[in-house]
Amino acid sequence: MLKTCWNNYHAPETVEEAIALLGRYDGAARVLGGGTDLLLEIQQGHKPPVEAMVDPSRIPGLDEITAVNGHIVIGCAVTHTRIVNDRLIRRHGTCLAEGCGVIGGPQVRNVGTLAGNVAHALPAGDGTIALLALDGEVQVHDAGGNRWMPLPDTFLGPGQSAIDHHRALLTRLRFRPMGSNEGSAFFRVMRPQGVALPMISMAVRLGLDDEGRVTEPRIAVGPAGPVPHLAVAAMEKLAGCTATRASFEGATETLLDNVALRTSKYRASREYREEMLRVHLPAVMSVAAERARNVSPVEPGA
């Protein structure tokens, strides 16, 4: 039987209206993304029901993917399916198209949003891990106005976001487009049993200079701690190295030296996660480097 998760359903037509609604409910309303996670969490008693849901998907512009002022901008109502099929994203955020492409099944991707994935703040959300590697930012509107936050600043803990979804609206996400010498890639390992969460997810963005040295690498993995993990030490280690398998393996070892992977019951052992990173992360870096060398867009999954 389904519980009543909300009493009132609002689909405001402007951001201001949405913020006003949230204010009017004074904490008793919350923002609804696609709802594919949130509604289940409420149904299953992991989150409390609310008085009202505020669905921003009918606010003009928030369902668009655009290139604006040197950024690729994704509205909060954009679904995973849209991201996977979008030419701009496939070119400039290949790892994001790949990450969003493996979330749930088609019916979930048709409704679930990247904004919702980020808002959920799971340590291994596939879209989130990819956006973290892309150096993503998040735009938040609230009663005080709006601001852009670096993505890592939104994570407080597992399932805990710094954005108060009862009072603020995550309106947009953005990242820098790829230069002609940049590429990205995503990979995850799943098991055919139990909860459909990755055993381990990994995403890489990097550039190559004229000598084939790695520039501005970003490496994100999860689950590797309470929040999506940006592998800063490994990124520092990789920066400036020649893009070879040996460099990638070295960076991976640095990552492993600096991260506390854990065993999650019925999901993956620590050793397995280490092994998966050791085997697959250098390969993901190689694919990102290959894409950086290749000016023409590479199809996700290729």
Binding site: L2, N7, L32, N110, R191, P192, G194, A196, A268, Y272
Partner: protein, 944 residues
């Protein structure tokens, strides 16, 4: 309430509904479009898929107001002006419809794929189908026919997959869609939750949610006083017998003194709405004294273990089952090689996609009182439609339901009527009583119809599972490969109540030496009560468990002997003249050798290698064989009564109806029964209707279990048709007439054209007394081609080559459906499924924690049909419902060994553990996914 405006199936609708409503609820309840089904309410199974602005979404968890001003399309829109949509036609042609509960979801998801591709000018490939239907689940078909159907609907020229079978008769042996498929592809088919009655109440059950406790007191006052609550019932309110059970009557209808597992029912509440009933559950105060719980069969049988059922002389020992043939010590003395290993199999969940639902209607119910149309029969002074207490339910055993409902009501079985509704999958999981008794009690207590629909989560918690087992098996052979001895000891976790444990584990025991001719066999099986969920029937019925152990040992033995595993099996196969481990001589219909030959020849065509490496994967074949009894056996009376009535329709064409209370759960029984009667009557199968499972109108067909319906009910239908024909021919002047002429003559003579026949299966003997324990066995051989990823340990089944001796293929289309579905279900047993319980509380609380195989896991399936007729079966047919779901898991783990050198001894395969063993060279894996301890060591032949 607010106004919801949508276009639904091309029609504009405006509804005043609460803003909290989900789209599926609006469609089903506010618009009456019950073609959209709900399987989980978790956005997990996909069967509720509808199209919103052309895009497939899970309507169960989609806020209705999110679809404001949108266009919604459901299954009801596909068939226009009586013409089927190409997808519907293709699902029909390919037999891609079994129980039908997921069919609307599969079709709608497929439609969106085809429409999208066609708009883009692209063709639909198999990869696209697998991607689009990734999370739209089906538990019956195994998806192979679904893929073929969608390819056909997308414009490809695809023939239904029909393995070669014997030349057909007029009806028998002909491929024909199950007659009820039409309703299932159009959304018109009604499952229990699709029924509404004026004045109907909704019920919920208070579950114990603790593994073992004494009940000190139950206070229902606050719950009873909640506005909208009509009645709260507890053990004290059960007027008749407060116990049920299929073999041993030990399961409380409502627990009054003690609870023994988390799913135990303590109180039931009927209210104006489900929400109110649920709210009232929270107000029932139960004072429990928790007791120590015992959660494994070995612990349950150790001294000092907490006792579940006080007063049983055997304590927690539910049954010690024994098989003895020859002299086991002599057998091992004769052996040159002995293999001794212990295996473990997991508890698993049927996950039929329709959660249990039952509706009770009180005796004398008049819908007119509640604003409905008054019962027309009753108004005319005839017997009212609901003259008796009536229960609408999709159940595998309608007559036993009737008897059990009557016993709890303290009434005569004749005072109760069970109306079998369509069943959205069963697989053995709808044999025990679920809500049947509860709704009858509530209906009689309130004088109103009462519906009890379990949520998916409640279904997971409550219903009996497949037995988890630990099986030690020692196999001995001479140097030349001849088996000399098999000794096995099994522990089965029966859970809190007996259910069918004794029968299931007897089957595990009698099949624990495999389908082989072995002079010396000794098997001991200990079935134990524990505080886990009860275990009962599940397709394979114990044999799935022992086959995994037997066939793993056979491959180890072959390797130690330096023999080819196929040759070892062929040499020892049961054949005509062999004697089984229970002392039964195979006098006919033992087609195992041919199954092995057919699979072997197919597997070894084109450049055969057992194993090879390709990139970062290793590929290998693995082989296993199996067998399964048809019918109850073991001396149990096994019979079915069918009624056949014939008449001339308005065009003067002869038509007939078979009536029998056997259950259809998607396996295709109506098609089989109509073929059996039609063949005898000389009619096309389409002229014979089948009415199943109404205890007032259909005689007893017995339980739908043990792969018995084709044989038993098929024979009953056949003999009833024969008897009818004979009687009509015996009319004066009847000798030379055709069937239509006979019916015309009967009409002139005022003679009835209805015949009833009680068919008794050949007698069988109890275990331990020798002779025929069963009247027939089906045999099968399967080869699995698996790919193991060297970097992850992930296992993929790429191809299954199968051969099954079914006696005779009555309907090749539905037969192939059983085979493909059985194989994929057993792939799930090997690779996916484990119902995990921790200290008597399920970890598997939601469907999201239980992955069954999806379409992505469907391998290429090559199927051969072997037809060694059995003289007593209808046209030689034996049962097939369970057989295909037995050898697959061992074929897969044997393939994994051939690929990696790692022997998996516990299911389901855990890639984490497998990779660790591959890397370390450990040679074997003892932990299946979800296991937290190594396989226990057990003593042979005695309680450990």
């Amino acid at each position: 309430m607010s106004t919801l405006r949508m276009t639904v199936n091309g029609r504009t609708v405006e509804l005043e509904v609460p803003e909290s409503r989900y789209l599926a609820t609006v469609l089903r309840e506010d618009l009456g479009l019950t073609g959209t089904k709900i399987g989980c309410n978790e956005a997990e199974c996909g069967i509720c898929t509808v199209l919103v602005d052309g895009i497939p979404v899970n309507s169960c968890i989609f806020p209705a107001f999110k679809a404001q001003d949108s266009s919604v399309e459901t299954i009801e829109n596909l068939s226009q002006d009586g013409a089927l949509h190409p997808l519907q036609q293709a699902f029909l042609d390919h037999g891609a419809v079994q129980c039908g509960i997921c069919t609307p979801g599969l079709i709608m998801t497929g439609k969106s794929l085809i429409d999208g591709k066609s708009a883009a000018g692209e063709r639909v490939g198999e990869t696209d189908i697998r991607a689009a239907l990734k999370d739209t689940y089906c538990r019956c078909t195994g998806y192979a026919s679904v893929i073929r159907a969608i390819r056909q609907a997308a414009g490809e020229d695809v023939e239904p997959y029909l393995p070669e079978t014997r030349a057909p008769g007029r009806a028998v042996g002909r491929a024909r869609p199950n007659p009820d498929a039409l309703g299932k592809i159009t959304g018109r088919a009604r499952f229990t939750d699709d029924y509404q009655f004026p004045g109907m109440l909704h019920a919920r059950t208070l579950r114990a949610n603790r593994p073992h406790a004494r009940i000190r007191s139950i206070d229902t006052k606050a719950a009873s006083e909640l506005p909208g609550v009509h009645v709260v019932l507890t053990a004290a309110d059960v007027p008749g017998r407060n116990l049920h059970g299929l073999v041993t009557i030990d399961w409380p209808v409502l627990c009054g003194d003690k609870v023994r597992y988390a799913g135990d029912a303590v109180a039931i509440i009927a209210a104006d709405s489900e929400e109110i009933a649920a709210a009232a559950l929270d107000l029932v105060e139960v004072d429990y004294e928790d007791l120590p719980a015992v959660t494994g069969p070995i612990e349950a049988l150790t001294d000092g273990a907490p006792i579940l059922h006080e007063g049983r002389p055997d304590g927690n020992l539910l049954k010690h089952i024994k098989v003895n043939k020859g002299d086991i010590e002599t057998g091992f003395e004769e052996a040159a090689v002995v293999v001794d290993r212990t295996y473990r199999t997991p508890g698993t969940e049927h996950l039929f996609l329709e959660p249990e639902c039952a509706i009770g209607v009180p005796a004398g119910y008049d819908p007119g009182v509640h604003g409905g149309d008054t019962d027309p029969g009753a108004a005319r002074g005839e017997r009212a439609l609901h003259a008796k207490t009536t229960v609408y339910v999709g159940s595998q055993i309608p007559y036993q339901d009737r008897d059990q409902v009557a016993a709890a009501l303290g009434r005569d079985p004749e005072d109760v009527r069970i109306v079998a509704t369509l069943m959205g999958g069963g697989f053995g999981g709808k044999e025990d009583v679920a809500g049947q008794i509860h709704v009858a009690l509530l209906a009689e207590a309130t004088g109103r119809p009462v519906k009890m629909l379990y949520s998916r989560q409640e279904s997971l918690l409550f219903h009996p599972k497949r037995h988890a087992t630990v099986i030690r098996i020692r196999t001995g052979a001479r140097r030349d490969g001849r088996l000399t001895a098999v000794q096995a000891t099994l522990y089965g976790d029966g859970g809190a109540y007996a259910s069918l444990s004794e029968k299931v584990l007897t089957r595990a025991t009698t099949h624990a030496s495999g389908p082989y001719d072995i002079p010396h066999v000794k098997v001991d099986c200990f079935a134990a009560y524990t505080n886990n969920a009860p275990c009962g029937a599940f397709r394979g019925f114990g044999v799935s468990q022992s086959c995994f152990a037997v066939e793993s040992n056979m491959d180890i033995l072959a390797a130690e002997l330096g023999m080819d595993g196929v040759e070892l099996r062929r040499m020892n196969a049961l054949r005509v003249g062999s004697v089984t481990c229970t002392g039964q001589e195979m006098r006919e219909s033992a087609g195992l050798e041919e199954c092995i030959d057919r699979v072997d020849a197919d597997m070894r065509s084109d450049d055969f290698r057992w194993a090879w490496e390709d990139g970062r994967s290793r590929w290998a074949w693995g082989v296993a064989v199996g067998y399964k009894n048809t019918g109850l056996g073991g001396g149990a009376p096994d019979k079915a009564t069918a009624e056949v009535e014939a008449w001339l329709d308005d065009d003067g064409e002869p038509r007939a109806e078979v009536r029998i209370s056997s259950a259809e759960m998607g396996q295709g029984l109506p098609a089989v029964l109509s073929a059996c009667a039609a063949e005898e009557l000389g009619l096309p199968a389409d002229s014979v209707n089948v009415l199943l499972g109404d205890t007032d109108y259909c005689p007893d067909g017995g339980p739908t279990t043990a792969s018995r319906q084709t044989f038993i009910s098929g024979n009953a239908a056949r003999h009833a048709a024969q008897a009818l024909l004979q009687r009509l021919r015996s009319q004066e002047g009847g000798e030379d007439r055709g069937f239509a002429g006979l019916l015309a003559l009967a009409r002139e003579n005022g003679t009835s054209a209805l015949e009833r026949y009680e068919y008794w299966a050949p007698a069988t003997r109890p275990l331990g007394t020798g002779g025929d324990m069963h009247f027939a066995f089906g045999f099968g051989a399967q080869a699995a081609l698996c790919e193991v990823e060297l970097d992850t340990g992930r296992v993929h089944v790429r191809r299954i080559v199968a051969a099954h001796d079914v006696g005779r293929a009555i309907n090749p289309l539905t037969l192939e459906g059983q085979i493909e579905g059985g194989i994929v279900m057993c792939i799930g047993y090997a690779l996916n499924e484990h119902y995990i319980q921790e200290q008597g509380l399920p970890w598997t609380t939601v469907m999201a924690r239980y992955k069954m195989p999806g379409i992505a896991q469907t391998p290429e399936i090559v199927s051969h049909i072997v037809e060694h007729e059995t003289s007593t079966g209808p046209w030689g047919a034996k049962g097939v419902g369970e057989l295909p779901s037995i050898p697959t898991s061992a074929a897969i783990t044997n393939a994994i060994f051939n690929a990696t050198g790692v022997r998996v001894r516990s299911l389901p395969v855990d890639q984490d553990e497998l990779l660790r063993a591959m890397r370390s060279g450990a040679g074997e894996v003892q932990l299946g996914w979800g296991d937290s301890t190594p396989i226990p060591s057990i003593s042979m032949g005695e309680i450990t």
